[in-house]
Symmetry: C2
Subunit: 574 residues, 2 copies
């Protein structure tokens, strides 16, 4: 490929809204452009990288026995109604009607579609298990987008769906996919953490994200120092400090109180340690259900855990108005106790397990400037549910006692157990078992974002001068630069070497611009980040200068040697 | 791949709405399923074929110097407004709003998008010419669909867009694409006719369709016996029989007349040959403009030519009501003459060139049961435009006197000259020329439908038993069938050969079903149509039966020989 005719060249300008390193470098180097916010043109250089990523994913998926296919991008909305997801995901789902007023969802994930095509066949246990996948465009109407290709509203994703006869068959596939993913990301030059995560709106009981550690990422996770445990902040569990359960229960007292800006003011006021306080937060669910969440003062509430515990789709904090008028309490003085006769009858009270066995605690009195002392759970209040709703933090311990670290990263892939979630909600999603009985499929699903992987690679592989592509995904293997191209001798040598390399099936980008300075050409090569840079110039004479991107030193060597080094590098790349 | 775990197996049932051979065979053999009308799941077998088609197209496009990239599927509707196509193509365009009420078109073709990304760069003549292409899903909200993958509402298409500094640069690219297309279709096993076609709503001045002759196709075209001319029925021109221009003009006469069911009744009634009659048809354009089209009695009107001549987007026949009330005439008696004072003032009158020099013709009198005789153009009526609006038919002659044949076929690809159509309608679609001046791009575009190509291949390559895939696109090279699999010796031999072939990188589908009859397995192999069928059975003993799909004879040969024949076949396939 001649750089002069390449569509999408380097630029010095960077739009001010590009905040991540990958977005800046990929923009500057000519790998993408924005169409509208979150929707991108992938330019020829970028597409070469995407195709290499896709090839690696395909090879590994095929090696695992998975089968590539394609589902339409417009999903009949009726399918999403079968699983109630037309409502649950309303905030990211776009819908469209055709000329016959038939309604479609623009696919952002395709569980329903794959169940729908599978149920068109009368399958038996003999056809199982299988795993089908596709590379296709996904649409997510995100409220906000940021970071260029790291979070887009339209992007190519590999999504796979496995169908098994039972949990055991499924678990083998899940484990195989976990290993396949680790291999895929290794080949892409990415070290990933396999992190337990929240299922979100996909459904099912457990799932894992594959996260590349990076400050540019949006995923916060906690990991044991010895790596024995890794979980997304949303669901991470930890060892809670035990309460002194043998302490004698003292009589409940209602006392005047003052509030400051933090819990510490309460600690000072009552001269009671934080872990003797009960923190209460009022939430409202999408169905306007009031949910009171109580937790020990030294911990914070994790709204995702709370949401999952009460099985609702979304939660928000109650406003001060709602605390006063709907809950008949006072901001800052919400109580876990039901002493106030005006409290609504139908609120749901959730207590964190950290309250179990807590003795003689202090908390609000449901009226301004009054607190209770010596609160004892069970004696003074009985929550509807006691469960884990605590937010894990760095320094806490895993259940086996390992200190947790907090990390941030980019979620490049995920694997989900779906279980019977979809096969039970959708009609006829059944196979015939050995005994001739109809049974629902046991399912899983598995995703990898292509553009996000590309961006993650850049976040991990770059320096001050530009991108440093791993060989496996580089847009070209060789960047051949001709300097002093006014000299026909040099021009001929460049063309000669280019033809030779092409005959060897080596992918070469040739900088053939006659009117651009050496400095600019070398800077462009650093920015674009192709693994091998070859320079033909008057200074190099009969030799060719070779330099690997990311290494300091350049070498002058003979063409013959070039023609042996590069083909073996090209083979390695396959 | 083990057939037992392949998703998408053969079936004997065919839905009654599948009318074409390709749809029936591809359905039965498990290559696709319908989601909703015109939107298809491409199953693993089908996707293997599609990927091979894509690979061939990509290789040839890259060899031509074109560069692959990706544009978003949701196009800002504002771009389509820039070119007025939001209206012109309203009938096939679907639009959708995001949560911020921003309006998008679901891309059915991407001229605007590619101009939009190109104009984001400040290009000069040095960057030109270039040709960028993508494989992506296209959406067309067709009124009706038929024939399975031959016409879909959602399908993968390769679309390319070339940008040149001038017509000369463009023409080289256009010619290169024409040659590239011919090579692509050859490699797909398709013989194509390059046929001049109507530009439709794409814009530009000329274009060619690549058509595979087939009764299943929707494209009707005319071709000279010596191949020197080929054109779509919509635009085909032909040599019209000359009028006797020296005949003396007789006085106009208004005479009573009767109509029958055909023009022949008029011929008989007036005792005048067909070519002395003038046929008049009233049309209505999308802007409610009345258009009267007149042609010599021995020819028929071609509505596409008429539409292009009057530069409107759509035409329909006027109803009898409109003929009477809007045009103040009488169905069957419409006249080219304006003698009736009640005729509307603003209708457009188009005459075919076959009327030039026609003397003493007969036509309607604009009132029931009255005709005019001795009509002479110019003397008795003056059309607004005289042009070619005649429909070409088999047996007519090309302009150089060659007899035309009529053929029907499947349009698998097309190439369009766009000229300055888009670069002038869209702001800033300019490059800097040698003199430093801003000039619009000279453009072309080039499409190939992937699913349609697959269906066309099946239309051309099948027999009574099923599909006969050309090696280049077959889903697998080898269909390995184990009979008598209860016998562990046979089972081991099948597995052994399968592993050996896999080591040789040969794509094999193994029929490993233990409980299916030999007859059923062989019938399935014929239906699926993989090039080489290998059978291991008790009857074959130590030998392996090999048979090429589409050939009659099977041979018993040694494994060693298999292991030399097949790798060379696999290489050929690349």
């Amino acid at each position: 490929m001649f750089y002069s005719k390449l569509f999408g060249k380097t630029t010095k300008q960077i739009p001010s809204d590009l905040s991540t390193i990958s977005a800046k470098l990929l923009f500057q180097a000519g790998f993408f452009r924005e169409s509208t916010a979150g929707r991108y043109f992938i330019l020829p250089l970028g597409q070469r990288v995407q195709l290499k990523i896709i090839k690696i994913i395909k090879e590994e998926m095929d090696a695992s026995g998975a089968q590539e296919m394609i589902s339409p991008l417009l999903h009949p909305l009726s399918l999403w109604k079968e699983t109630n997801r037309d409502q649950a995901t309303g905030y990211e789902l776009m819908t469209v009607k055709d000329r016959h007023q038939f309604e479609f969802a623009l696919g952002g994930t395709a569980e329903e579609m794959f169940v729908d095509v599978v149920r068109k066949f009368q399958l038996s246990y003999k056809d199982l298990p299988f795993n089908v996948y596709q590379f296709s465009t996904k649409f997510r109407d995100e409220l906000r987008v940021r970071g260029g290709l790291l979070r887009a509203r339209e992007f190519v994703m590999k999504d796979a769906y496995s169908f098994a006869a039972n949990e055991q068959e499924f678990k083998q596939e899940y484990e195989k996919m976990a290993q396949t993913y680790t291999r895929i990301f290794q080949r892409l030059g990415l070290t990933t953490y396999k992190v337990e995560s929240d299922n979100g709106y996909i459904g099912g009981e457990y799932c894992h994200e594959f996260i590349v550690e990076s400050p540019a990422g949006e995923s916060k996770f906690l990991i044991a120092q010895d790596g024995s445990y890794a979980a997304h902040e949303d669901i991470a569990v930890f060892l809670k400090e035990k309460n002194n359960t043998t302490e004698k229960e003292l009589p409940l007292q209602e006392v005047p109180a003052k509030r400051g800006k933090t819990m510490q003011d309460g600690v000072n006021f009552h001269q009671l340690p934080l872990k003797k306080h009960i923190k209460n937060v009022l939430f409202v669910s999408e169905n306007k259900q009031l949910i009171l969440a109580s937790i020990r003062g030294d911990y914070d509430i994790n709204p995702v855990k709370l949401k999952n515990l009460v099985k609702c789709h979304s939660l928000r904090l109650a406003t001060n108005e709602e605390i006063r008028n709907k809950f008949q309490s006072e901001p800052g003085f919400i109580s876990p106790l039901r002493k106030n006769p005006h409290l609504p009858k139908n609120y749901l009270h959730i207590a964190d397990t950290s309250l179990s066995g807590l003795k003689n605690a202090c908390s609000g009195g449901n009226r301004k400037n009054w607190d209770y002392l010596n609160i004892n759970i069970e004696r003074d209040f009985k929550p509807d549910i006691i469960g884990d709703i605590a937010l894990a933090k760095a320094g806490y311990l895993t259940l086996s006692g390992q200190p947790l670290q907090e990390k941030r990263g980019i979620e490049v892939g995920n694997i989900f157990q779906l279980g019977y979630h979809y096969s039970l909600m959708m009609q006829n999603a059944v196979f015939t078992d050995k005994g001739g009985k109809k049974k629902p499929y046991y399912m899983g699903c598995y995703g990898i974002g292509i553009g996000r992987s590309m961006a993650a690679i850049v976040e991990k592989h770059h320096d001050q001068k530009g991108i440093i592509w791993p060989q496996s995904v580089a847009p070209f293997l060789v960047h051949l630069i001709g300097l002093n191209l006014q000299n026909s001798n040099i021009r001929n040598k460049v063309n000669h070497l280019y033809q030779k390399l092409r005959q060897l099936q080596i992918e070469v980008l040739v900088d053939d611009r006659p009117d651009v300075s050496a400095g600019e050409k070398l800077a462009d090569a650093d920015l674009i980040g192709i693994p091998y840079r070859l320079v033909i110039s008057q200074r190099a004479g009969d030799k060719i200068e070779i330099k690997k991107r990311g290494e300091e030193k350049a070498y002058l060597i003979d063409e013959d040697k070039i023609l042996t080094i590069l083909p073996s590098a090209a083979t390695e790349r396959l």
